[in-house]
Symmetry: C2
Subunit: 429 residues, 2 copies
């Protein structure tokens, strides 16, 4: 049996076991989560030892420092994931929620009830804490999960998986509730399992996510690019604008919700740009400007390609626009429909911007960095979606849930309704 065959067999097992997990009670799923937290805490030293082996191997292989940093799983990370599980425990059951209850006719009752999506494939780079987080979210939402982590975290992922698996089985979850994929060949095998995997969640670099999106028929939840904008309107308050722009650019420069392009109304450029140029230089931020911006400040020229670039670095492209409409057209054309903010004291302009910009997050007078499930109060985050189908923006447990329609009858057939002998009365209960 090849590795691809093994992966297909495991995916089929997950699919077969998914209705059983979907039917499990919230008590069982919460018990599993409690046991996960217990086992991880109890075996902390074994986890740290495994992680040290991965760290040593990565250093020997000379992997880049940011990767080694993300790979670290220490006391601090353990506390974080255990806290995450505790907060998941306190959230209400996302399953068995009645979204609609309607009597179609006497003794013919329609219910729309939430249920899990089924089997979720999660493919992530380096960070082993993501394994715990996503496995916990899937347990809470009754989804079977197939996890593929980065090869540099192989020992850490293996022990984390073993502990979570033991916890789930002890609590009574079906065998297929969690699967670990370990080889690189497994990724392509996973992408092929469109009959058994209902949703893919990739976590990693843009090119990695783009690869997943381009190479599978399975729907993908996530975002490849985060090209976020701030638009300073004619009536923006410079004292608010400068700190917001610097926060959005520098607070965490590698984040998908960091700002990449600043659009400035021509009537705001003179009051804003010289001061921004000064503060940006102090913060180590390099400005690239279109020809018009260059007439207000000294800066290198921005090219057409800059409007499409996610720098993930201390670089900000600046463009002068004639009005709000030009800003909106630029954002809808070059942006990634992630999060865009208008800075203005004109409430009507703000409302118009928020209506016309076609992004998951449209903000007024605040930093784009607020786009985050925890900051929205979702308690847990699956990821951020720039798709408009299914879930959009920061996605909590809701994004792992769908619904089914249950129709309870007493022997009804469609014939009499089609002929007009019977008719529906549609009464919401």
């Amino acid at each position: 049996m090849t590795e691809a065959d093994t992966m297909k067999t495991l995916a089929a097992r997950a699919k077969t076991d998914s209705p059983g997990l979907a039917a499990s009670s919230i008590e069982t799923r919460n018990l599993a989560l409690k046991k996960v937290a217990e086992l991880l805490s109890h075996h902390r030293e074994d986890i740290f030892t495994a992680n040290k082996a991965d760290l040593a191997a990565s250093e020997r292989e000379g992997l880049p420092l940011p990767i080694i940093k993300r790979l670290r799983f220490d006391e601090h990370k353990l506390t974080e994931v255990v806290d995450g599980i505790q907060s998941l425990l306190s959230l209400p059951d996302p399953l068995f929620q009645t979204l609609l209850k309607r009597e179609l006719d006497s003794d013919l009752l329609l219910e729309k009830v939430t249920c899990p999506i089924g089997v979720i494939g999660v493919i992530f780079e380096s960070r082993p804490d993501a394994l715990v987080q996503i496995a916990s979210l899937c347990i809470k939402s009754g989804n079977c999960a197939i996890l593929k982590g980065g090869s540099e975290a192989v020992h850490t992922n293996r022990i984390l998986f073993d502990l979570i698996y033991e916890a789930g089985i002890t609590a009574g979850l079906p065998k297929g509730f969690l699967t670990l994929a370990e080889t690189r060949a497994d990724i392509n095998a996973l992408l092929d399992c469109d009959k058994d995997i209902d949703l893919l969640i990739p976590r990693g670099s843009n090119s990695f996510v783009r690869y997943i999106m381009d190479n599978s028929k399975i729907p993908v939840l996530g975002h490849a690019d985060g090209i976020c904008h701030i638009y300073c309107d004619a009536s923006c308050d410079v004292d608010k604008a400068i700190p917001i722009i610097l926060d959005a650019k520098t607070q965490y420069v590698a984040a998908c919700n960091a700002v990449e392009t600043l659009l400035v109304h021509e009537n705001a450029a003179e009051k804003l740009l010289p001061l921004l140029s000064c503060k940006a230089a102090a913060a180590g931020v390099k400005l690239l400007g279109d020809p018009s911006a260059s007439s207000f400040i000294a800066c290198e020229p921005a090219q057409e390609l800059d409007w499409r670039t996610e720098y993930l670095d201390l670089i900000l492209s600046v463009k002068i626009v004639a009005d709000l409409e030009e800003a909106v057209i630029h954002i809808n054309r070059y942006g990634s429909h992630h999060t865009d903010s208008i800075l203005t004291e004109d409430a009507a302009a703000a409302e118009r911007f928020m209506l016309l910009v076609d992004s998951a997050g449209v903000y007024h007078n605040c930093s784009t960095r607020f786009a985050d499930g925890f900051r929205y109060g979702f308690g847990a985050e699956v990821g951020i979606s720039t798709s408009k189908i299914h879930a959009r923006g920061p996605v909590g447990l809701d994004g792992l849930v769908t619904y089914k329609y249950k129709l309870h009858g007493k022997g009804q057939t469609v014939g009499p309704y089609a002929s007009g002998e019977c008719s529906f009365h549609f009464r919401d209960l």
Copy 2:
């Protein structure tokens, strides 16, 4: 300019105009719908004349009778589409609905508000009434639509499009609100417009829908197969079961929600099958049975392939199962996750079946033919989805709507929240 270039230009125009349509008021959108109904009624004779030309051409070309039948647009069809528009007018605005309103901190207000998906590509075979229906749904939900109808309906589609377009423009909708694609080359050009088209809705045969799904990166709303099951449990009431099975098979044999496979508990076979065999023969239904079924009734053998076949014909495959679990495994394995029904007087068995079967519709003691947006009281139907991502089951206006997050601040930056200086208080309003 090639046809593909033209299509891409038109799709880009739709994308550019979509924020304007998204911002339009319900008054404007309803006015457009009223004008559509008026213009169609006023120009009825022109429509019928165009349709007669299409019918004559199709007859000359010797197209199959079912296609010619679907192509007909007469007084009856006109009344139907105008009634459909009237019922759409009475539905509340699906846009600008607040789904969540949460104060993250003082003066930092998060709102989750419904908005259109953007640009919808609709590709349908033959039926010109589908053009009116889908264009109306898109107007109501503020989505730009690109319509591609069957070539055999070219004259009818053209006049329907012209009238709807005139109505929309008169009411003040943007130019790109509606686009007609007319050539076969346009289909492949449409499938390539993944930057400008947000969702595809194909309406037609299984192979047609499958082709669309397999040849585009754009998300697809719809279903290729409708392999629906009825499971007769040990304690089923034969007097209810026979009429339900016959209704589900014969009431409209070409429907996606017609039953294709009957699963019978071994303890119910003796009381059910001989009577069913007799009634089925009278109704012109041919039964195919597995070896065990053949021991109760005379029937041709069902092969493995039968369990995966959507007959769309007066044929029903029959399999005997040992228990409810075997029925569930069969349905989840061979079915298309559309609609499946259990017939039983045992409430616990019904609940278990409805929990474990992974389908958009799970029914108890009624016909699978109830799976339909009108019968669910949705007022209008976009289609039926067997996907678990986005919309599932019969889809009404809801399926054409997504949401965006609006965040209203007073100058807030993330820095102080990340450092612990500030904290969120999350208060739902």
